[in-house]
Every structure is written in C-alpha cells, then in structure tokens.
C-alpha cells in the first residue's frame, strides 16, 4: 500500500484561513452583493455553492437536509456580508457561516445529543495502513455519513475544517476531553467501515 510522505502532508495541508493572494474573484463580488445586486449574488452563489454543498452534506449526511442547510447558509451569508472585513479569505469566512448553520441545524434536530451507538473505542490506531487513498470521494463521503451525528460533527470539524478541540468544545457545549473521545471513536469507526468495504 502506498504511504503518504511527510513532505506530501506539508504540501497538501492548507487551512481555510490562508489569506488570498491579491484577492479572489469571490472577494471582488462582495461589494456588489452587499448592495443587493441580485446578479452578483447569483454569481457568488454559483461559485461557492458546490463546495459548500459538499460541506453541508458531510455534516448532515443526507442531501435534502444538506440543501436546506445550504439555502439557510446563503441567506445568512448575504445578510451578514457587512461583517466580512476582508482580512482573511472570503471562502474561509464563508465556510464558518456554513459550519455554523449546519451546527445550528444539528442542534435543532437534537442530532448532537450524546450517542452511544458508536461503541467503545477498541484500541489505538495500528501501524497497519488503511486503504483510504484507494477510496473515492463518494465512497468516503458515504461512510462519513454513516457515522453518528455527534461523532461525525467532531470528526468534520477537527479533521477537515481544522478546528481545535477547544473551539469544538465551545461550539458544541461539551468539554475538550469529550471532543477528543468522540474524535477517536469516529476515527476508529470509520477505519472499521473502510476495512469492511475492502
């Protein structure tokens, strides 16, 4: 099995907060969107929606719910454009809004209540490689969607969005130890599911 190198890790890891180089086309649309220009808003929507839809789908686990969150997120985004200072990347700012919207939706449906169907963590990661890189995006997305909502949320926030346990704990109303525990369980459960797919 092909193993990722440390060098590759450094190259591929980027945070959502990296400032843009010279401003992106998204940021150039912001002033017009602020003034309520519907065409500019549509262009911004078209540019952002596919990525944000993927984000929403990761958090909600099903497409109809993800579309609801996506819609609410865009309404919030356009309503709060005035609070975008331009200091960081626009996409990073937008991602926070969609993560927030998804979290609010999960709270609303009580999906973030502690679940016990994930079982105990049965051990630490082994040195044995798991075939994540052999999987396609769709397969992995489907497996993540099968995680319990609370574990899936912590996993998404920590592994993919790059938030710290402290930030996750504050957002979800749990302590940092619980956040770590949920993350570990999510990892193990995901690995188990990946193995089952082989």
């Amino acid at each position: 099995m092909k193993r990722l190198t440390g060098k590759l890790h450094l190259i591929t890891w980027t945070t959502t907060e990296d400032p843009p180089a010279g401003g992106s086309s998204l940021e150039r649309l912001v002033p017009a969107c602020r003034s309520g220009d519907r065409k500019a808003q549509k262009r911004l929507f078209d540019a952002l929606a596919p990525k944000m839809m993927a984000l929403c789908l990761r958090y909600t686990g099903d497409r109809p719910t993800a579309e609801d969150v996506l819609q609410d997120g865009f309404i919030t985004l356009f309503s709060r454009l005035d609070s975008y200072s331009g200091a960081g990347s626009f996409e990073g700012w937008a991602r926070r809004i969609f993560v927030n919207t998804a979290l609010m939706h999960l709270r609303k449906t009580d999906a973030l209540k502690l679940s016990d169907d994930i079982g105990e963590a049965r051990g630490l990661f082994t040195e044995e490689a798991t075939p994540v890189q052999k999987m396609g995006y769709r397969e992995l997305m489907a497996l993540i969607g099968r995680l319990p909502a609370d574990a899936r949320t912590v996993f998404n926030m920590y592994v993919i969005e790059g938030y710290s346990h402290k930030e996750i704990a504050e957002a979800l109303g749990i302590n940092e130890a619980t956040s770590r525990s949920k993350l570990q369980r999510a990892r193990i459960r995901l690995q188990e599911m990946i193995k089952e797919q082989e």
Binding site: D72, S79, S83, M104, I160, A171, L190
Partner: protein, 411 residues
C-alpha cells in the same frame, strides 16, 4: 496507519470536493432574501427628516419674518386715518428700535387695520378675522361696535381691548392699543409657565455598512452552545419598530427670548428577530427553540432638560431653537419568545442610565393665548451607557419628531 496520516488522507480526499446543487436552492435563497428585505424597517429617513425640518424652518422664517419687514410700510396713524375719516387720531410714538417687541409691532399693525376698517365697512369681516388670528378674542357685541359707522375717534375702545387690565385709563384707540402692548410686554418680561402634553416618534433607520454588524453573543468562531436559560442567539433577520414616546413637560419663559423646560417622558423601543431560546438545567440544555420569533420591548422613563431660544415670537407663531439633554432609565427589558407550547416572557433589568443630547428647531402655533400646538424636529445623539441592544446602541444619532399641545399656566 497513524492517526495523523489517517486524518491527512481523509482531508486530502475531502478538500476541494464539490457537489451538484439543485436549482431550487437558489430559488429558496432568493425567496429568503426577498423575505428579509420585506421585514426591514419602515424608514423615517434621518437625513430626509433633517432636510424637511430645515425646509420647514426656512418656510416658517420666511412667512413669519415678512410681516415684520412690512411693518415700515404700514400706514401711520396720522396719514391713512386722516384721509379716511377726516378725523385724525393722535400720533403714536413709535417705540425705540431695540425695544420693539412682537406684541408691540402687532399693536401698531392693529392701529393701522382699525383705521382701514373704519374707512370701509366691507373690510370689517376681514378685520374681525384678523383680530381672531392674532389672538384678540371678541364677543359679538364688540364686533358690532367695530362695525359702528360712528366717527372713529369717538368710538369707545374699551370694548375692543377689554382683555387689557386697565381700560379706565384709555382715552383713545391708539392709547388703548399702546396699553395693551405694554401689558403684554410687561407680562412676558415677568415670565410665564406652561405645560405640554407631548408625543414623539423617532426614526428607525439603521446604518448600512460595517457599523450595521450585529454584536454576537461570543467572540468565538462559532455560536456557542447555550450555558444558561435564556436567549442564546439572535439571528440576522431583525426589524425595529418606530420608537414612540409620550409625556408631560413644563416650561418657564424668562422673557420673550429664553425659556427652560423639564418633565417626564416614557419611551418604548421595540424590535423583532429570529433567535434561539434554551432552557438549561444543571449545565445541560433541556429545551431548545431554534429560529423562533422573538419580540423585544424596552420601556424607558426619562427626565429631559431643555433650553429654548425664541427666534420669532409673534402673536400666533413662535419659531424657536431648542437644546436638549435627557437621562433615561430602562425600567423593563421584556422579551416575548413565541413557542407553540405557550409564549415565554423574559424580563431583564439593566443598570446605568441612557444619556442623550439633542438640538432642534421648532414651530408653535397658538390657537389662543392659553393653548398652542407645536412641532419640534430634533437631532438627538445617544451616549454609550452599556445599555442592552437597541436602535440607540446600533445607531446613536437619531431624528426625533416631537409634537404636542402647550397650555399656558400664567405667571
């Protein structure tokens, strides 16, 4: 595989991923934006209000100052009366330029009108209307006397000026009018109390741009999970009602130019928004309401202090500038959370006072010497006093539109 490598593998696969989006989502976004736009405020535009007040002030000044300018064109007592009746009235000594009060000017004008009225009985109706306009109340029999075709100098003036305090001393119309003017002048110099019943609406516009940013409940990246019972999040779709006030005020005019005032004023601020409400027991949320309709009513009691400067003060019209200061106490901050299980009422207290200051121009029309109606547009600034969120904390510069009835309480 180590956990770090596992995480990175997953992240690499997920980052940059895209999904197709149904066209219905954009339609929903558009509908949501339209809905949000409709929920916005009923604007009473701040600067349009200022502009309207300025135009009104300029118009009032033009109307009110014009008669004073024409004063020099009024026929003197000697000339027109002599021509009209062949019975000239004694000359009236014009007051010193600096000591001419609006009331005295009215008196001189009144003399001229009397002379003209004697000349043509057809003008009597207009003359009576004029007397009423400037606040001289006439009974029916007095009107008859005015219409009396007997020679003007011999007509007893007492019936015209019975409101004056010393009719016995009158020997002629001009003397009576001078006495009336003097009495009015003397009264004003002694000062006058008045009481007003006031109402006020205020602009409910809010600023555009970064200043419109709503304060979040936390400075963190996320809206935090609720830790106490109450409103845990205020959404972005919000609207503000027109602030309304009502109260009583008392004014004391030292002289025809200067006056001070105070009183007690109740003010209601309202807003509505979508927000989250949570009930937390032992640190754990046991009930959550998300994106529910919440209305907020803030009730203030305030004490104003006003200084008035009368720019023009004629018989019926008063055109003035006012400077205001006010301290207000938020006595009740009431939230109504709409819940299908029954509405939830929350009452919060606030410490400190809300101070404000303002400057405005105003116009008062007197129906009679004891009753007038006024309109005072005022530009007001609210100081930051750590008060709960309201229109005043979001945009502290606001436009007041105060109107009221003013009753003279005498000296």
């Amino acid at each position: 595989m180590k956990e770090n490598e596992f995480d990175i593998s997953v992240r690499n696969l997920m980052s940059g991923a895209e999904e197709t989006v149904s066209p219905d989502v954009w339609k929903g976004v558009e509908a949501g934006l339209d809905r949000a736009a409709r929920r916005r405020v009923v604007p009473v535009w701040l600067w349009r209000g200022v502009a309207a007040a300025a135009v009104a002030a300029a118009a009032a000044a033009f109307v009110l100052l014009r008669p004073a300018q024409n004063l020099s064109n009024q026929p003197t007592i000697q000339q027109p009366v002599a021509q009209a009746t062949d019975a000239p009235l004694p000359a009236v000594t014009q007051p010193e330029e600096d000591d001419v009060t609006p009331v005295e000017k009215q008196a001189v004008r009144l003399q001229g009108r009397i002379a003209q009225a004697v000349e043509s009985s057809a003008e009597n109706d207009a003359f009576v209307a004029y007397l009423k306009e400037i606040g001289v109340d006439l009974d029916e029999d007095e009107v008859v006397i005015i219409s009396d075709p007997s020679p003007y100098p011999e007509r007893k003036p007492a019936s015209v000026v019975t409101a004056a305090s010393t009719p016995e001393s009158f020997t002629s119309d001009d003397e009576a009018l001078r006495q009336l003017a003097f009495e009015e002048h003397r009264t004003r110099r002694k000062g006058e109390f008045s009481m007003s019943i006031l109402g006020n609406i205020q602009s409910n516009t809010r600023p555009q741009g970064p200043a419109n940013k709503m304060r979040r409940t936390s400075g963190s990246l996320f809206v935090p999970a609720p830790t106490r019972t109450g409103i845990s999040r205020e959404g972005t779709e919000f609207s503000f009602g027109l602030p309304v006030s009502g109260g009583l005020s008392f004014r004391y005019d030292f002289n025809p130019r200067w006056g001070i005032g105070t009183g007690v004023v109740y003010t209601n601020l309202s807003r509505s928004f979508l927000g989250d409400y949570s009930v937390v027991e032992n640190g754990t949320p046991v009930k959550n309401l998300f994106d529910t309709d919440i209305t907020n009513q803030q009730h203030f009691i305030g004490i104003p202090v006003n200084v008035f400067f009368n720019i023009v003060n004629t018989g019926n019209w008063n055109f003035h500038v006012r400077l205001d200061g006010m301290g207000e106490k938020l006595v009740d901050n009431h939230f109504l959370v709409h819940d299908s299980d029954g509405d939830i009422h929350l009452h919060e207290k606030s410490s400190g006072l809300q101070f404000s200051t303002g400057v405005g121009v105003g116009v008062e029309f007197k129906f009679s010497p004891s009753l007038g109606i006024y309109f005072d547009p005022t530009l007001r600034y609210y100081f930051d006093g750590n008060q709960p969120r309201s229109l005043r904390t979001i945009q502290p510069l606001r436009m007041d539109f105060e109107a009221g009835l003013r009753f003279s309480l005498g000296r």
